[in-house]
Amino acid sequence: MDLNKVIACLKEIGLKPKINSFQDRLVIQKVVYLLQCKGIQSGFGYNLHVRGPYSPVLTKEVYEHKDAVQKLVTDAKLNASDSKKVEEFKELFSGLKPSLLEVAATYSYFAFQQHQDVITVLQNVKRMKSFYSETQIAVGVSKAKQFLFMPNENDLAEMKEEAKIWQDASIKNMRG
């Protein structure tokens, strides 16, 4: 397991975590998972828990090296390819909203790790994250797809259609 690499990623993202904060620990879990899905391997194994994909070993490491994580102390440097991926992540998930990261990570687990079909993936995400609104789920799923999915022509058309529904709904909402 490479916690140094994790810290390098957090540093590049600009996250200054407070380990006593539930929210920051959750964000670290999801950031590391999504970056691993993208190919930045730090060696932390993830399994499905009530929180979605989660690595108990990562939590243990984070607590054990609390100071280094909080102060972002690392001698690891990301290579150009990894830096580019982190930059992409930063742009897509700016603000590091836990709800978006949670939905995106859970979607990615079912879609890209379990390779479930589209309908089953959505059913599972909606079930596990039923406390989030339809909009939060739709945005999280869309971000995960944007980050991890290489769309073909059909997929692009489908995504455009999907985005249009939400766009229309929000315009309607704004008009009252």
């Binding site: 828990h49 929180r51 243990k60 836990p98 406390f131």
Partner: protein
Amino acid sequence: MDSDFLSLMKESEILNSDVFSLIRLLLLSSINSLGEDGVTYRELKAGLDVSDGALFTNLKFLEKTGYITCEEIILEGKKLQSYKITHEGSLAWEQIRIWLKKFVECGGRNNGSK
């Protein structure tokens, strides 16, 4: 086989039988698996697909037994209830987990399967 069974029965004496209901086992397992991080009420409700009544009652029971603790956390500006396993809870879950594994294995052999 008989000695296995007898030792299994003997070992069961140290287990807290009050925890032996599906929902309590699921709760202990789920809360234990997230260790120091704790699990929010809403995650348990969604993940385990249980009613508020059943969830609340059983969480209260585990809290009263000293197996879990409850604290308030803030997530995206919202106050949420989060549950963490205690040292006693973790030990109890480990004893149950090991015993259940032996119980299933012993049951399989008793049924004549290899």
